[in-house]
Amino acid sequence: MYSFLQTAGISNNNHAVNNIVSLLSDTIDETKKESAVELLQFRMGQNVNYNNVEECGTLYDITKFIPLWVVYEKENRIGRLESGTTIYDFLQKYYDWLYCDGPSGAQYGLSNNILDLIDVKKTKDNLVKNLYSAYGDSFSGIFTSNTLDVGRAELEQFLTGIRKNFYHRKGTEDGLRKLFTTLFVIDESDIEVEIPKRLIIRLNGGKFYDPNFSFRTNIGDTGDYLERGDLGGSYLNYSKLQDATWFHDHNYLVFIGDKYNGNEDIAEIYRKSNHPAGIGLLFGKQVSDFTPVIPDTESAQVCEYPMLKNYAAYGISGTYQALGVINGATFYGLTACTGCCGASFSGFTGPTFRFPSWTNLTTASQFKDINILDFLTLCYDSTLASPNNNLTCNGCP
């Protein structure tokens, strides 16, 4: 430390202080009130964790700067049972204070090698974030969050070797697990990464998992497509319809257990540090959390439950008798009954009508962008009139 001060050009000031106070020593000695002998201990050059400094004692010993005549005089005074306190005792206390990084000291970091400030394992707690600002910028949210509790040991461990341990794994499941287990102390078994595309229903050539409906099971030509490595067979009966949020080919789900469940800060840190841009992410979710959208029965909506009979005329096949032609396509179905007809098209008299919410969207030639969910729920604005109201089938086949 002394060489550091010399480098800093401060050592000259120390000598100046020594010289001046030695001139004042006799005067000060006259003001002494109490006699005591201090045993000065030399404790220099030890690197100490800044956060462990409580009581400092003497970290910089000035004994070698005390003139011998002062030592001699001090011993004589003590021998005469008089006060032995000198200006040097006073100065030693000053240096005890100056070099102390504990709460009672000056706290200028002089008790240690000052370069320890950039050692993540030795630096002050409040400077860890400065180290992260250079080497772990994407984790800045940890230091501003009121909801995350990341310990000093975890911060040290994660930053040490961050390039090899995290950055080289960035964007991978391995990196994801390293992040949550190391920095946020989440149990490995609590972390789940699910890839919904393995659950999406796919064309499988008519093969089914259920042996009652399977084909060619004798040659093993069925099963999970991920296990098989091709689309030759799939769990058709357990698969999901593709959508834009949960079940599609560019999506993954990350669940990290209950410790930080619903915590937006940790989700933001994850997105910033490890989430590949361009890929969909549902954070804090599992596939089992998926609930299909169901009609809101408490709101001002009414719902229809489609009866096959009402829509029989939509079928295009030769099973039923031909009912009419629309834009060149022949529609087959049940014969119209009195009172069943809604909208009619160019002579077509089948028992069909347009769903109320689609009135403005569909024309005879355009289907446009009807929400596919409407096909399932058939819920519409209660202020619109349904052509099904008061529909009876008197006279219908």
Binding site: E38, K93, D249
Partner: protein
Amino acid sequence: MSNNQVNLGKLEFEQIKDGLIEYMKSQTLLKDYNFKGSIMNSVIDLLAYNTFYYALYSNMLANEMFLDTAQREESLVSLTKPLGVTIPTRTSARANIRVGGSATIPQFTRFTGINNDGVIYNFYTYKLYEAGDGIDFIDDVELIEGSELIEHRNITTSLDLTRQTYFIPNINIDVSTIIVEVDSGDGIWNLWNKMDNIGDSTENLSQRIYFVERFDTGFELQFGIENSLGNSIVDTDNVRISYLVSSGSSANEISTFRNVELAGNITIEIVTSNNSPNYPSKGGLDSPDLAYFKFIAPKFFAAQNRAVTKDDFLAISAEYLRSKGYYVNKDNFNVFGGEELTPPKYGRVFVATEEISTPDILDLVAYLKTKCTVSILPEYVNTVSDSLTYDVRVQLRNNNMSVAQKEQLRINIKNFLLANYSAVRKYNISLSGIEQAITENFTVDVSAAFVTINYNKSFAPNTATTIINIENPLEINFGAFTQITQFTDINGVEVRLKAFPLSSSQLSEFINLRTYVVNNNVETLSSTLNYGRINANAGYIEIGPYSSELFTVDVNLKYSSFSSGTNIKFTILPNLIEFI
């Protein structure tokens, strides 16, 4: 991340002195001394002054140790080295022009630029430009300013072959203009590439590369040495170097250029389109923008030369563009993943900026493709400007203020907002904390402030569907009507479009806007017209394509300053109009 200065201990003299006295009093040996006595007081003063020097030096040293608190350029040069970023000294101004009358413009062709004070600066082309067949002009000719051009200087005999280094004793060069070429004896000058980061590949072991390290008096080129990266220069090689010495910022804002070297009837036109933003000349810097390097260096380190996260894309782009003389950051360069859009466009990452010329945009996108995950497609998207307004209501502490006093306060608050929260053509602007800022800056007069943020935009008559995607919840309640806009359609029918979500769940769904036909100021709900849809919580509105006149969409963002802990985070993502 953190801009708070490191503070190791007290820095004020009186605080230091009080702390010292307090300590002395706590010591059994000295507790009964009178530290306010004249002599003791003098000694304490002396020691406190001594401590003051320690405090100043220790605190300065501690601050210079960390990237986010360092102030000195020399400190940042050292701190960014392990992060893979070399901080330049000066940067040359650049300009893009259009040149006619010459089929080719050779590399290092000199142009002169004259500033408004009549001072002449030299600008050079840094690559060969050729006009296409039958084309009279060469577009986007980039000129780089240089007070001195070092062209093909042979440094073969000056190289330190043992250390594989060459030192350029000039601190004012633009590092991005360094060109190193090596002839291995076959008469062909091969270009060697400057590397800022070794990356993770061992392929660099046998490549023609070199590194640049900055020193106080110049720059050192480091070629490959044994067991290191890159090829070595051998004693049979011929090596030549070219670079520009920069005039820095003084060559900015030059709009008049002449050519003195090309033969023929040379004409020079200025390219002023958005695709050639370097006009008048700009980008010249006398010293590096330290804030830029503090921002980008940690992100570049975290990227590890790959584009995975959004920050990676930004860092990789910034470093790449810096070599072309552009300084981009989150304010003037935006990156967003396709998953952030409504509806999402998975597998794509978009960049948007107004800072870069078209050829450089194409180069950037091609470069990003080599750095990002396979199957991810980086794309450029044109910027679209939108505007925000915010209405501010303040609660006065003194209800008896005169009209004049209120007017003066109103002007002061408005000026404060214009100075601090009015950003023009920027990305990622945060309006967080407007209310708090007002109450803190006008604490004498204002006890509380309330802000409503309004988004409005005018649209020309459009035959295509107009999409407004502001990605923030709109202030629309269910069970109530909210008028979005009104206009006259192509059939001359005056219509008003209103949102009427039936339930809370419909706020997050796409619902059709209700179309009301207006006759004699009487509204009638149309059962046949459908002019758009809305997703209130997603901030998505779709209108048309039926407008015959200019119309304005005007909605409030769903933000309440009454809610504690609410932050305004308004992100405008441009519509995907054009892709290159």
